[in-house]
């Protein structure tokens, strides 16, 4: 990025103020999708521009930033976004979850428990949990306003009657603070319980769809289910092949073309720490 001089964290101050106002509103109404005038960022829409704008609006010179994609710090998109903030904000970065003050993530919640002074920023592709049941924004807005969420249970009902269980593995819808149904972004449902009563502030940015929503610290997040078909977590038969963790989310690695495969932590920072501890 040679050429023109850019403002701290790329966005001009007017834009940051606009985004901060949206964030404050989002925090005040947990789970409600606040429209905001998203800008074009120098990375494609759909590649984390919502998260990047939220991070840019929250970032101060004293912050320490961590960026992960699929749980890992070294995936290409995470590298690209981290580089962007180093270049435009010259901010300190880390791979260690507990050292970060802001963590921008795509598709995962870190395994290391978060603390009160941390902000977790999610990149969101489709913020509307009802979108694939009702394509119209005008109608889904009304459904949220009237708390008309029965149709989501119709989908879960269909899953159970066809598959014998709720067949949603990621972007699993949940109810925030007993009011708004929300899409936790495409994190695996394995991560959903971590959102509940988390001490950290959780912010969700959808750039292309121009929406910001939030879960304030210590807020109830309840994954949808039926009384007789409660929400369940996936399990693995083996622990992580590298660190031996039995509690973390595991990625499947194909090791050869003979069907050989192994399972390792998707959270690379957590995995490394476990190895060191051993």
């Amino acid at each position: 990025m040679s050429g023109p001089h850019y403002n701290f964290a790329y966005l001009n101050e007017q834009t940051k103020r606009m985004i901060r106002r949206a964030i404050l509103k989002a925090v005040a109404i947990p789970g409600y999708q606040v429209p905001f005038a998203a800008r074009e960022m120098p990375m494609p829409l759909g590649w984390g521009t919502g998260g990047v704008q939220v991070t840019a609006a929250c970032l101060t010179a004293e912050d320490t930033l961590k960026v992960i994609d699929q749980g890992a710090d070294d995936t290409t998109n995470a590298v690209s976004i981290r580089k962007f903030f180093v270049k435009t904000a010259n901010v300190a970065t880390t791979e260690q979850t507990e050292e970060a003050t802001i963590i921008q993530t795509r598709h995962r919640f870190p395994e290391t428990p978060l603390k009160e002074n941390q902000i977790l920023v999610y990149q969101v592709p489709i913020p509307e949990p009802l979108r694939f049941l009702e394509p119209r924004e005008t109608e889904t807005r009304k459904m949220h306003a009237l708390e008309e969420y029965g149709v989501m249970h119709v989908k879960l009902y269909e899953d159970i009657s066809r598959f014998g269980e709720i067949a949603t593995a990621y972007a699993y819808p949940a109810l925030v603070n007993d009011r708004y149904m929300f899409d936790p972004s495409p994190i695996p449902k394995f991560d959903n319980p971590k959102l509940d009563q988390s001490p950290a502030l959780q912010l969700f940015g959808a750039g292309r769809e121009k929406r910001i929503y939030a879960i304030p610290p210590y807020t109830k997040v309840k994954s949808l289910d039926f009384e007789d078909y409660p929400f369940t977590l996936p399990t693995w038969e083996k622990p992580c092949a590298i660190c031996g963790s039995k509690t973390s989310y595991l990625d499947e690695i194909l090791t050869d073309d003979q069907g050989g495969r192994m399972f390792v932590c998707s959270d690379t920072d957590y995995c490394r720490k476990n190895q060191v501890a051993k």
Partner: protein, 256 residues
């Protein structure tokens, strides 16, 4: 004492054209009212205006709730209207595709209203759906099938089950037997008559078919060119029609 539904001077204009001249009537619990007339007579417009499907140009609809309180429909918030329309009221469309969620199974179609009012027990929802399928004479084996795989008559029965699952007090029907074969019509009418009687439902049925009115309704309203021209007990009107248009209708259709 108030009727279940009190309709007062409902009108509907489409631009400068009049869809429905002032119409008033009272519907009592357990009563079945048929609105009869040829196509274009304003009967569907009237039905939509009194059932919340369409806003009338003027006039009011009052509904007496289970606790006896009478409420003015036009004063309800959208949330209250929608709640009423999926609990105490039901609407059966002429084309079942307008009333069903065609993308989900028969069971989900019946269960949807239960889930909409907060039922969160899969087993219970499923059992209710099965019970209702049985009541409308659909093989319970078909519970997980898509309505696309159903015949016209089955879809119509499914639509009725979907409406009845929350035990509504009034059901509005727009030509419920229209577009069905005669033999299928007969079976559906038979079923509807049984359900309405057993459940003590009040109903407003729009039909162009006097035979349907005769079989199902206790009272009749005849409409022509947007106006109600005759009302009375069904038997009475069919025996002794007063208005010339009604006489014409009765003589042309009920020769048998």
């Amino acid at each position: 004492m108030n009727g279940l539904l009190t309709v007062d001077n409902i009108t509907k204009n489409y631009g400068s054209r009049v869809g429905c001249h002032p119409a008033s009537f009272e519907l009592w619990p357990g009563e079945v009212l048929a609105i009869v007339g040829e196509s274009g007579s304003g009967k569907t417009t009237l039905l939509k205006c009194i059932s919340g499907q369409m806003d009338p140009t003027s006039g009011s609809v009052r509904y007496t709730k289970r606790d006896g309180e009478q409420i003015l429909f036009q004063n309800l918030s959208e949330a209250e209207r929608r709640f009423l329309m999926r609990t105490d009221w039901g609407f059966v469309h002429q084309d079942a595709r307008d009333g069903l969620r065609m993308g989900v199974s028969a069971g989900a179609n019946v269960g949807e209203r239960l889930m909409a009012v907060g039922d969160r027990h899969y087993g219970h929802i499923r059992k209710s759906a099965a019970d209702w399928l049985r009541q409308v004479e659909i093989d319970v084996e078909r519970i997980d099938d898509s309505p696309w795989s159903f015949s016209g008559g089955m879809r119509q029965r499914l639509q009725i089950a979907r409406n009845l699952v929350t035990a509504p007090r009034i059901i509005f029907m727009d030509e419920p037997t229209g577009g069905l074969d005669v033999s299928v019509q007969a079976r559906l009418l038979d079923l509807m008559r049984g359900l309405v009687r057993n459940l003590g439902l009040a109903a407003v049925i729009v039909t162009h078919d006097l035979a349907v009115a005769r079989l199902l309704s206790t009272r009749m309203m005849v409409m022509q060119a947007g106006s109600v021209i005759e009302t009375g007990l069904t038997d009475q009107i069919l025996e002794d029609p007063q208005a010339p248009y009604t006489q014409l209708l009765v003589s042309s259709v009920l020769q048998v």
